[in-house]
Subunit: 317 residues, 4 copies
């Protein structure tokens, strides 16, 4: 059985690798880990993983197998090469731990080869269709919320407006959950159009009610947050600062929930491989671990829960 | 509308209070908060809560309303007195934030009065029937896991066995989730009988395989952990230490998930009160917020997911 | 006795306020706290502080008195107004908690009035002459180091170079200590000139030795870090990312050391006021709490310990 | 050059090992690390350490060389065996990273052999004479304070008294600094005799003033804290709980300060070895890194700063 981590790293990837290896061994599989994402499948670069070799990694961020964003992998010949690598090493099944992009690659590879391939959703962006949560999401949310708790100290003490940019690529899942749980006065996500004038108005009204500081959580996907901060400052005559939380959201020890999800996903993934199931994605649906077609997960856009945005508005009045 | 926090405190209780107050106001309710748990209903001790007065508490542990374990409340006359307090203050509905014991009290009170009473499950023990998770549970798990990550540094460096006692009262929910996500070599919970000899054997075998340190997570409900640690030391000739994690598990800033759950539960609870529904408990079931009869939640014992225990065994081989 | 927090906020300011108030009361002084920095002295906006009213703030970031950067305060008439406020309220002594800029203001005010004024150095930048450490510095260092520990997970997993910009205004004290303790491969501070070509060379050489990731800690005072990151990427053909740690460095619960320093400084400050000493600054010198002339502290530039930079280079080879 | 970590582990030991190895290499020394404390010198168990092999350990708690409390090492023949091991491996100098007990062993060994031996103080107890601070102390203080911040949430919410036992072996350095910075209402250390009646009185008086919760920080060295908690409960009619912080204080990622101290101590230790100095201890005195005779450090009892205790009393009134 092979395992690979691909795309952006997410806290809990190591927990998933550990889970895959130890559960696979309990079912008498051997496991090889391909290194540096798809690159390892193109260069046949891997190492044997044993229950011992994945000891002491459960609580570590990043991925011991390393990862990469492999643009080359979108080409036909790369997929062919990867399929050859799987065949060459007698890999009976491949578990791909990663996000949307990695699932696309896994799907292409799956079509090219008869080998069962299972996707395990791991991404701080939580933008994989079909799963309520991805490995790493809960950790990233907590990291961002903890940082915003700190920023609020300054916001309140200096009576300032802060625009806080959080990650999430083109989607607003991270920003939405962070915004609600950090008590942000406003949450801006790409899925919901807004007029700058609305923002200005909200801030002006809050100021009149005596609320002198505010946290605006903005998903990176909404565009230029620097410019937004400048425009708010100009329009409202308040002191506005921008804070881009950045890469700390990707790292750090995984939260208990990210570790648990990684372990449960790993269990399901090994089960699917041992049943020779092809092109499946492990998912969390309605609180239960299950699986779905990898293709369906790839081609469908994950919907946004707008009721949460409405609730957030009420919670910060 | 009234709100009260009762029983042991749990991180996220303040987030729930904030949620209740702000959502209630958005529906034109006024809110009073009874102080020190049921005691506030016996002594008619309360304060008016406004959207402003619950500002800046979302991220704080404990409860601004204070709480207590009120043994007196089990008596008939106490319930009568509490019912009078509700009537006296024209409270149209009462939201009780707490665990099992608080739900019992809420049920008794509900039977005595016509006032709609809704239970919101908040407890680090996660032992409330009908809900997959209680407010504060995720925070307590993370606190315990973070502490065990630290203890492991010493366990490995000094090649010792650690018995780590975690909370949970009579149940093992906290110990089980902590054990799995901290990578404990053994998990002891009251729901599963074990023989000391099994423990000794497991440790001896691990020692023979070259594994010189181990973490045994034990729920407080299993009995005397001090004695257990001594017996393991005697039987295995290993250095064994006991660490009782204690009250840090009850406090601290709530995790993002505990805050989110608190907000969603608050939303549902206010909705139920505004619909004049009586004796309901807000719960999380299969990933969705819903409600169930308060009595059913009170009288039914929450089952333990033993498959998680089996998985834990495989994950630490 | 009066107390004011001024300039940028720093974790531990509340611990200092608490210390000043409680120690002052033990010596039978009463204390008023001016609000929003110098602005409170211009508008005569203050509140009475008692030992009770400063309870529960020891561990909170920010400042309950709020603060501001008050540009107006550089003008003669503002100083005159502030002196009148002190006289009007019979303030026998004023304790100014803040950084370099606040000390300048305190000095001006001190010259204008007969009232004893004592400066207490609080700043995450640690750029106050005469003191080995300022309140908040240790907290900011730990916050930045913890965040870089997380960023390193991604740097290693994706084999990338990270430029991490830390605060410090025009100086490199924060960047230097953060760089050494985070194990940064390079540390760039305004006090030491460097050629871009040196940076490129170091990265290329590390790459040849097989080291594929690196953390470069850069003080905000060195200039445009975005451009630097771009230039490194172009010159070394490595993947380079920029992370601006930002305002989280200003907030958060103060570290034990920042709290201790705040308490000891407060003790000394109250002692100086009670001795009617004028224009003094409380400082930490060679591990001891003492005081020096406020003017000397203001007009002298704090030297940089370059031996630490040399040690850092050896430690990351 | 040899390096060994001995006695109880302390956060920052790895940072010290890394520092010793990299600085030694920069001076053209080779380094071997003896494993499991003195045991490694008795069994000639060691590994070669290179600048690469100590990469990625700066921020980890515990010690990669492992450690032990080696009672056997107090015997003459053990010392002789260790001296032989040093000679056998042509070790020109030995750096011993540890606390009081380890310094004793180092002194004995130093008397037996001509090899330069340097002690580097690392201990969470901070009980080594001659140094203002030991590696790991600052980390342990912060860990304990963070935990007490959490316990206070419960103490306040439930209006309880908490006795919090912190480590420190026979001394009160850890308890004292933790108590001051956590804002404990009382601090009990072995160096200061107290009557239980005083404690009861203080609690009763606080209760009368309306303060219903309190944190009493007690050093483990004062004796049976369980009994103390029971006696307080009986005498004051308050609800009293005991929390033993335990082994979390030993582990965890070292704080920035512990890392810095470890690096600076390592630098000095290698310098002393390269100068062939015998039986020295590296110390921090008045904010400067220097050295003193190992014997003086061993035989002298470190004094307690009682003024800090007096200040603590004022700060919590």
């Amino acid at each position: 059985m092979g395992v690979v981590t691909s795309g952006g790293d997410a806290p809990g990837m190591n927990a998933a690798i550990r889970g895959v290896v130890r559960i696979a061994y309990s079912k008498n599989f051997e496991v090889v880990g391909f290194e540096r994402g798809w690159e390892g499948l193109l260069t046949n670069s891997f190492r044997r993983l044993t229950p011992r070799s994945v000891g002491g990694i459960l609580h570590l961020g990043g991925t011991i197998l390393h990862t990469s964003r492999c643009l080359e992998f979108k080409k036909e010949e790369a997929i062919t090469k990867a399929a050859q690598t799987l065949a060459l090493n007698n890999v009976d099944g491949l578990i791909v731990i990663g996000g949307n992009g990695s699932f696309q690659g896994a799907l292409e590879l799956s079509k090219k080869t008869g080998t069962p391939i299972v996707g395990v959703p791991a991404s701080i962006d939580n933008d994989v269709y079909g799963t309520d949560e991805t490995i790493g999401f809960d950790t990233a949310v907590n990291t961002a919320v903890t940082e915003i708790d700190k920023i609020r100290d300054t916001a309140v003490s200096l009576e300032r407006i802060f625009v806080v940019e959080v990650m999430g690529r083109t989607r607003g899942f991270l920003a939405l959950t962070v915004g609600v749980t950090a008590g942000a006065e406003m949450i801006l996500i790409p899925e919901v159009k807004y007029e700058n004038e609305e923002i200005f108005k909200t801030i002006r009204e809050a100021k009149e009610r005596g609320k002198k500081s505010a946290i605006i959580v903005a998903a990176e996907g909404i565009g230029d947050t620097r410019q937004l901060a400048n425009e708010i400052e100009k329009a409202t005559d308040a002191e506005v600062r921008l804070s881009v939380l950045g890469y700390t959201q990707r790292g750090g020890n995984p939260s208990a929930r990210s570790r648990l999800l990684a372990s449960l996903f790993a269990d399901k993934a090994v089960e699917l491989i041992s049943e020779h199931q092809k092109s499946r994605a492990v998912v969390l649906q309605n609180g239960k671990i299950t699986s779905m077609g990898l293709e369906e997960s790839c081609v469908t856009e994950k919907p946004t829960d707008l009721s949460l945005l409405a609730l957030a508005k009420i919670l910060t009045t």
